[in-house]
Amino acid sequence: MILEATRISKSFRGLKAVNEASFSVEEGAIVGLIGPNGAGKTTIFNMVAGVFAPDTGSILFQQKPIHGLRADQICAAGIGRTFQIVKPFAGLSVLDNVMVGAFLREKTSSGARSLSASILEKLGLGPKRDLPASSLTLPDRKRLEVARALATRPRLLLLDEVMAGLRPTECDQLVAVFREINRAEGLSILLIEHVMRAVMALAGQIVVLHHGEVIARGSPEHVVRDPAVLECYLGEETEV
């Protein structure tokens, strides 16, 4: 298990956002985290990524506890993340954006530059590397966000609704990229998604969240037929 969250809870001013949630990610697996809005998905992400600590419970990454660490420490430990609302370094070029991430592991500018360039190629942003990040379209900004996170050479990548706002073809392209990285480098991925097309194509395991609690987990085929899931989120008419 590369990531194990055990009975983590988080309350905000008396409102319990996440209640005793437990889930895990196997090394090299892709796990999807789905559920209706307000279910607590991003809160879980933020706990794993170190934005804030869980009130109770533990999070183990590579068998070492990471709950309570700062966001930058968690990145250094090997977890990369994207943001639901993308946060590019608008004043920098595309390449420079990725280089910021690359400098975590690369000692020299040239090393950082070549790593960044190759990652940009992989994500189809190669030709745009010298453009200012502010000039990118939303799909490209999302790819940039992913590229930046990948430059930190994570063992686990957290993707927060990265498909939102993308057209089906763009979505499929990105799915293919993730599949490839997962296959070639064994990168584990935990993704929050509403776009079921992507979840079904990528996830080997799905965890379903509702009102801060895990209500179902298992393989995609199994979860999609779970009556509780259908009732709270997918709807009876869903065909996937």
Partner: protein, 320 residues
């Protein structure tokens, strides 16, 4: 980039050769320009790199000047020793202010106000510090000015000119090098989006502190120069908020966060304002405060029409 390097080489050559063309007055103007260029560059490290607006930078100039000046005044030890003490002390001061601000999550306007408060507090404090002259000022012995006494930093105007020229060049080189390095990338990331920077493994608190300490230390050198160039220090003058504003005028007009902005801004401001004073004097008008109004108007114009400063627009035009 060779176009830019060529331009830079030409400018450097001109500056080195300048004393041959201008008299003592011209040299003093050039020294003043470079002084503001250097100090503006030092301030730029905190603002342009770490994104923290400091309106109390006169604090570091003052402390630097008083420390080195005081050491020379009381114990006759030259500025080369005083310099290190000044830099260390100011770096520490910067770290304290930075620590207080960042730990408590103070940024933006509140941070600026905090820096002002520290500068003002220190100004009044030094007014009551008789050991360093108090409100009457600290006066350094003006020794024989013909020979170059590098050790005690006493000499003709030429020596001061080349010193400040060297300092400005060194600051420029340092900033250029930093911008291209990991530090530069990290600082710019923090300035652009601190949360995203943290998600990429950057300990933003530590890096902001480094920028603040570096900026403070660099600025203190400016203070040391000031003390030994003018040979007198008054708390009212040195720590004055007007001085802090003077420091930022160059970078803001030239271009915050850019490499050449502070220098360009200093040149534009001093040349134009001195030119204005000359014209007015020629017309027989002695107007107190006209120079400052001029600064204010230029600042206003730049902020309204060239918000990123003159340098970015100029560089684009000259295709550097």
């Amino acid at each position: 980039m060779t176009r830019a390097s060529a331009a830079l080489a030409v400018v450097a050559a001109l500056l080195i050769a300048l004393p041959a063309f201008v008299g003592n007055y011209g040299l003093s103007v050039a020294t003043l320009i470079l002084y503001f260029a250097y100090t503006g560059q030092a301030w730029n490290v905190m603002m342009g790199f770490a994104g923290q607006l400091s309106l109390g930078h006169a604090l570091y100039v003052g402390v630097g000047g008083y420390v080195a000046g005081g050491i020379f005044y009381h114990w006759g030890i030259g500025p080369w020793a005083g310099l290190w003490v000044a830099m260390a002390l100011c770096a520490l001061l910067g770290v304290v202010i930075g620590f207080l601000a960042f730990r408590f999550g103070i940024s933006g306007v509140y941070f600026a106000l905090l820096t002002i408060a520290f500068a003002e507090f220190t100004r009044i404090g030094f007014d009551h510090l008789d050991w360093l002259g108090g409100p009457g000022g600290l006066f350094l012995k003006v020794a024989q000015r013909d020979t170059w006494d590098v050790f005690n930093f006493r000499g003709p105007p030429l020596m001061y000119y080349y010193t400040i020229l060297f300092l400005t060049a060194a600051a420029l080189a340092l900033c250029a090098w930093l911008l291209k390095s990991k530090a530069g990338y990290y600082w710019q990331a923090i300035r652009e989006n601190e949360e995203a920077a943290q998600a990429l493994g950057i300990n933003t608190f530590r890096w902001k502190m480094v920028a603040v300490a570096l900026s403070a230390a660099m600025t203190s050198v400016s203070g040391v120069f000031y003390a030994f160039y003018y040979n007198n220090l008054f708390p009212e003058q040195v720590f004055n908020i007007g001085r802090s504003i003077e420091i930022i005028l160059g970078p803001v007009i030239g271009g915050v966060g850019t490499l050449f902005g502070p220098i360009l801004g200093a040149v534009v401001l001093t040349v134009l304002s001195d030119g204005l004073t000359e014209i007015l004097a020629a017309l027989g008008w002695e107007v107190p405060g006209i120079k400052q109004i001029f600064y204010g108007v230029v600042l206003l114009a730049v902020i309204m029409f060239l918000p990123n400063g003159i340098w970015p627009a100029l560089a684009k035009r000259l295709r550097l």
